[in-house]
Symmetry: C2
């Protein structure tokens, strides 16, 4: 399968210097790309700003904002059979982006935010029948509840639920949920193991 994988955070700039972001390191996306290769698939990455190097021999498109990631995913979609959205995409961006770096004294006491594009929904809307979509749900509460809600809302095939503590580290706990329920729980496993389980699930169920 040709598997499109997003990885890393996005940055939503207030001005040329300041941005909203998160600490995603890209590790899960890189582990997914490596696992996809190991299983004989053809992965490609759409990668937000990270310092870690992506795995060699995987085509990489670099983006900064959620809007850019949205555009890159939709552009790449027709040439792929599956999408795995491992990136930690910002939900909101500042409504306006100022030029340069406004001075401290000129700073706004409030920052107006607007939603970023919903990449999973946009991908589902244009994907051909049989195209497989895997979403991630970063949930501070019950993993299963978050996964079930996101499966229903986003019309995706699989949801991988993990906790905020997963960001930026290698070992984490994740659950893979499909439309018919919990498929697998991986307790404190390296992201390489979780990635392999996701890729195998995806390969086993594709048309």
């Amino acid at each position: 399968m040709r598997i499109l994988i997003t990885a890393g955070p996005t940055r939503e700039h207030l001005d040329d210097v300041r941005f909203l972001s998160n600490a995603s390191s890209g590790r899960m996306g890189f582990a997914l790309a490596a696992a996809a290769r190991a299983e004989g698939h053809s992965p490609s990455l759409i990668l937000g700003p990270v310092d870690l190097p992506p795995p060699p021999d995987v085509p990489v498109t670099r983006v900064t904002s959620a809007q850019e990631m949205h555009d890159a995913v939709l552009a790449a979609l027709p040439a792929h059979d599956a999408l795995v959205m491992a990136a930690a995409v910002a939900d909101y961006r500042p409504k306006q982006r100022a030029k340069g770096k406004p001075r401290r004294s000129a700073g706004p006491p409030t920052l107006e935010l607007v939603p970023t594009p919903d990449i999973l929904a946009a991908a589902r809307a244009v994907a051909r029948p049989g195209f497989v979509i895997v979403g991630f749900a970063l949930e501070a509460g019950d993993l299963g509840e978050g996964a079930r809600r996101k499966l229903a809302e986003k019309r995706v095939d699989w949801i991988v639920a993990d906790a905020p503590a997963a960001i930026g580290v290698d070992v984490t706990t994740a659950e893979i949920h499909g439309r018919s329920g919990l498929v697998m729980r991986l307790d404190r496993k390296p992201k390489a193991d979780i990635a392999l389980a996701i890729i195998r699930q995806l390969g086993a169920t594709a048309v």
Copy 2:
């Protein structure tokens, strides 16, 4: 001299996952620490969240937020003779920090911001006579104008002015300004060269 150097960005969390930050890599602070060592001084670092490793053999205190950096600087100040504030400290933080990771649908359309502590001003207020303070001014406009304004506002000894394009890269243009005016302009130089010029200036003028 015992030189306290701050480096990297700070992160100002909205909740457990999302934060306001900037792309500072820590490179300028690391170059300053290395230059200080090379010139026979004793540097120590207070370091925001970065991925690059700090130079070996330099004591490092790691912090996340501007408030933590403020507290760490004030705690370390009495054991030092100079402070070089190379960190790109966030000017504003969210007024409230939410627990966990609030859902997209629960997200705020506006984010209320409050100023972070002014570390240069706080350091000047408690520093003993003869303590040397070097500030940085990241200026999108005229470097000299920004430096002169910040020298007057902050009562520091030296201001290093550079452009937002300096963030995250190695080669940049900087100006060193003292209370009596421009001392040196360094045009498209590696940060190692700029750091050495700053450390020599500092060493030459200390009591």
